[in-house]
């Protein structure tokens, strides 16, 4: 168990391309931190730097209070779960679980005990003598997890461990990883590009973009108060509507609430915060035409075209909508649900 | 050049791992090759006491030598004939095997084993069949009114080495053609069949174009084989005779250097042969590079 601390971490490739631009991040003992962002944002590189698989160009990484910059992966006492699992194909499941312990010279009796325990926890005891190719995708995923937990390392590093599974299995394994991490209390860093996975797993969420951290916080904080246009667009599904203030003000009968800070030129509103029908005083009242309805079961996503606005707005309507396509629709944007942003800085005001 | 995303940080280990291979390459490949280049510019006096640097004299003498030009010409004829026959026959056999399912595998087994017959042994087998006094084929030809004696007839000697060399190479080409044919997606042939193309039309319009990478590869390999790997065939059958008619380049290097002890000329011949191999290898490698993307 250990805290992980990143101070001014940078990564520059020999060719001169800089992919990580000075990251400061403190991960508490036992915490599960999720790094999320679009592909190429540097999240995997950062994880691999923590693991010791990439060199650190500048700054320091410490695990459990000790700087590990120049240490081999094996000396950092971390375990990693890879996207393609990276199970040793010629070894049995037991061989895979044992390998790291054997290399560390763990006594035989203890190896056996730990392997048995890990296999029991992950319900893979009956597969111990099989080869990885004889297992299903979900079972391989469990073996990869098992290989991490038998080592009882200071930290788990997960590199998109669920992306090779189908949607249903992914949901199950997500819950299982969460439960396992809670019960073991091992500090974990989890990389994913899937914002739903990120939201549901994380104690704290780190949104990355272009080698920078955009925002760090609890998933609900990020959802409720995105610090930048990038985070606003990335977190939440369907994504937040971002409206141009000038275009909005040009619409007939629209006045913006006074409460918006000076310099607001973009306002955001979550699709589920929009109210259908009449408005309370101070709300923005709009009307438009329904272009498309996506029924997703308990709710419906409406794509509504408002004359004068560039993009169709997305509205989440609870229950099954009575609306038909091409119908016209009145709806209100509640004043207290608006997120003010500056276009120039991309930041929240 | 490609490596892994992460690499081991050791500084000296890779040199240690490469050392045996590099040592052997340097001592037995690079060094002799440089020696050949050096001696090709020198003349050694008859007693081997003194060598004189003579620039390109060995080369100019060689290229003016009718015997060498004859060997060049013979090599060309030989290489073209072997390549055409060995590739033609094996393509027919491969196409036939590719049409069959289970029995195809039995035929494959029956066709591939000559790969393991050494060229010199292949030469002896064919020499035995064409032996003027007891050979079965010379007997059959005799019955048909053809007098066979490859010891005196230059054309017959050439036919003999071409047949022996092609016979050995068929199995190799066959395997590559079969692999090439199997990599032509069945769906393409099926689509053409639905479009109304018969089996022969499908073969010419679908299979042959898609097989062209294999064909090109084999073309180079076969030329290479005919030029350099057939030493044993020649040595076992004609030893370059009669009257130089089967004295191909690779045999001449050996004969001039080892039997004739003409070091300078043999070295110049070696260098020219190396240039030919280098051209062939570069052509082949560029082609491979394009296909596999190194």
């Amino acid at each position: 168990m250990a805290a992980i601390e990143l101070a001014g971490v940078k990564k520059t490739y020999p060719g001169g391309a800089q992919v990580i631009h000075g990251i400061d991040l403190a991960i508490g003992d036992g915490e599960l931190v999720v790094l999320v962002g679009p592909s190429g944002c540097g999240k995997s590189t950062l994880l691999r730097m923590i693991a010791g698989l990439e060199t650190i160009s500048d700054g320091t990484i410490s695990i459990g209070g000790a700087v590990v910059n120049t240490k081999e992966p094996a000396e950092r006492d971390i375990a990693m779960v890879f996207q393609n699992y990276a199970l040793y194909p010629h070894m049995t499941v037991r061989g895979n679980l044992e390998y790291g312990l054997k290399n560390r010279g763990t006594p035989r009796a203890e190896i056996d005990a730990r392997v048995e325990a890990a296999a029991r926890t992950l319900e893979i005891s009956q597969f111990l003598d099989r080869k990885p190719r004889q297992l299903s995708g979900g079972q391989r995923q469990r073996v990869a997890m098992g290989r991490a937990i038998v080592r009882q390392p200071k930290a788990f590093l997960f590199d998109e461990p669920l992306s090779n599974l189908d949607a249903k299995l992914r949901g199950q394994m997500r819950i299982e990883i969460r439960r396992l991490q809670r019960s073991l209390g091992t500090t974990s860093v989890y990389v994913t590009h899937d914002q739903l996975e990120a939201m549901t797993l994380a104690d704290r969420l780190v949104v990355m973009n272009g080698g920078h951290i955009e925002q760090v916080g609890k998933p609900t904080e990020l959802y409720d108060r995105p610090a930048s246009l990038f985070v606003a667009g990335f977190i939440g599904s369907p994504p937040m509507n971002l409206l141009d203030v000038a275009a909005l003000q040009a619409l007939p009968g629209v006045t913006l609430p006074d409460a918006l800070p000076d310099g607001t030129d973009i306002v955001g509103i979550r699709p589920d915060a929009i109210i259908l029908g009449t408005a309370a005083p101070g709300d923005i009242l709009l009307s438009g035409t329904v272009e498309l309805i996506e029924p997703v079961g308990g709710e419906s996503h409406l794509y509504v075209r408002v004359a004068g606005l560039e993009q169709a707005m997305i509205i989440v309507a609870q229950g099954r909508s009575e609306l038909v396509e091409a119908a016209s629709l009145d709806f209100a944007l509640p004043a207290d649900a608006l997120h003010p942003f500056s276009r120039a800085t991309g930041k929240r005001l | 050049m490609q490596t892994k995303r992460t690499i081991f940080p050791n500084r000296w280990l890779p040199y240690g791992l490469l050392a045996p291979q590099l040592a052997i390459t340097l001592v037995f490949f690079i060094w002799p090759a440089l020696q050949a280049v050096k001696s090709s510019f020198e003349r050694e006096d008859p007693f081997g006491f003194k060598t004189t640097f003579i620039w390109f004299a060995n080369y100019s003498k060689l290229l003016a030598d009718p015997m060498y030009l004859n060997a060049l010409w013979r090599t060309l004829i030989f290489a073209v004939l072997v390549t055409v026959i060995a590739m033609g026959v094996s393509l027919i056999l491969a196409v036939a095997v590719n049409r069959l399912l289970r029995s195809g595998r039995v035929y494959t087994t029956l066709l591939v084993w000559p790969y393991a017959v050494a060229p010199v042994v292949a030469g002896i087998l064919w020499w035995f069949m064409f032996n003027p006094s007891i050979g079965i084929l010379s007997y059959v030809l005799g019955q048909m009114g053809v007098t066979w004696n490859h010891r005196v007839n230059a054309d017959q000697a050439m036919i003999l080495i071409v047949l022996a060399a092609s016979w050995k190479q068929i199995s190799y080409n066959f395997l590559f053609f079969v692999a090439g044919l199997q990599s032509v997606p069945a769906s393409l042939s099926e689509a053409a069949a639905i479009d109304g193309a018969g089996p022969f039309k499908r073969f010419w319009t679908i299979v042959v174009p898609l097989l062209s990478p294999t064909t090109f590869f084999l073309l180079i390999v076969n030329i290479n084989y005919a030029m350099f790997d057939t030493f044993g065939v020649i040595d076992a059958t004609t030893s370059g005779g009669p009257a130089q008619s089967t004295n191909i380049l690779v045999y001449k290097v050996y004969a001039d250097g080892f039997l004739g002890l003409n070091i300078g000329s043999s070295a110049a011949q070696s260098v020219l042969l190396m240039l030919i191999v280098i051209v062939l290898t570069v052509v082949q490698f560029r082609f491979v590079e394009r296909r596999v993307q190194y």
Binding site: H90 | F8, L13, A116, F128, M129, S189, V221, G232, L273
Partner: protein
């Protein structure tokens, strides 16, 4: 695909049967010749049906050899060929796999140069550099020795390329996982890479064994002592004598024995053989 053209199927089998006959006939003739007595080759044409001297001929060749040719018994030559083929195959695999490992899993100064030096061996077959290579071997005192027979032939660009290609297809994560699990470079090589390369090594062994067995010019140059004759070159000596003094029955017995080991390997390890052949040349 449904295709009903009986004449095409008949033609297919016809072509293949003719092909098999052409391929097999020279060897059939050799086998037949090896079962006859010396008298069978004095008449007009070689016999086409088996004779009754098979055991005599093979027995004589294996135990005494052909006295007139100055070649030793075939047992010795077969043993030499076996040693040469196995040493060449094993050593080529060994030095190729470690150099491919160095080239793929490490980055170091002069890596590209090393790669090209190895690549050059592709361009310089023994046949084109005979005399200087012979001279090096002679200067090193390796004539008439197993070392002289094998060492100059064990550098191999093709085997190195095959392993390099294979290593590049091994997922990067496997090596990363092994490093996280505490394996250093040699341990990773031994525990992970070597077991994964097993099929490739076996396939390569088949090809290289045949390569080593078929060597002719090189043993011809570096051995003058019959103790080191290999069977493929020994046969040539016998055949040269047999031309004057017809002992075709004995020569053909030797030919059959010389073909047998590599041919059996091709037939019984056909899957590995095809894999090795097609992949080394890709």
């Amino acid at each position: 695909m449904v295709e009903n053209r009986p004449w095409l199927n008949v033609l297919t089998h016809l072509v293949l049967v003719v092909g098999v006959i052409i391929i097999a006939f020279p060897v059939y003739l050799a086998v037949i010749a090896s079962t006859h007595g010396p008298g069978a080759f004095l008449s007009n044409v070689v016999p086409l049906l088996p004779g009754s001297y098979m055991l005599d001929n093979y027995g004589q060749m294996l135990s005494q050899g052909m006295s007139t040719s100055g070649a030793p018994p075939l047992t010795l030559m077969l043993a030499n060929s076996l040693v040469m083929a196995i040493v060449i195959a094993v050593a080529k695999i060994a030095i190729s796999i470690i150099s491919a490992y160095a080239i793929v899993y490490f980055r170091f100064p002069l890596r590209t140069l090393a790669f090209w030096i190895i690549f050059i061996t592709l361009m310089l077959p023994v046949e084109v550099r005979i005399i200087p290579t012979f001279k090096v071997v002679a200067d090193l005192g390796l004539l008439n020795s197993y070392a002289g027979l094998t060492i100059p032939l064990i550098a191999s660009a093709t085997a190195t390329f095959l392993f390099r290609q294979f290593f590049l297809t091994v997922p990067d994560e496997l090596m990363e996982a092994a490093r996280v699990d505490g394996a250093g470079p040699m341990k990773f090589f031994r525990d992970i890479l070597l077991p994964l390369s097993r099929t490739n090594m076996a396939a390569l062994f088949v090809i290289l064994f045949i390569y080593g067995w078929m060597q002719y010019l090189w043993p011809l140059l570096v051995t003058t002592d019959p103790k080191f004759y290999t069977v493929v070159m020994g046969i040539k000596r016998m055949a040269a004598v047999a031309d004057a003094d017809p002992q075709w029955n004995l020569v053909m017995a030797a030919v059959v024995l010389a073909m047998l080991p590599p041919v059996l390997i091709v037939i019984f390890m056909q899957r590995l053989f095809v894999k090795g052949l097609v992949e080394t040349e890709k």
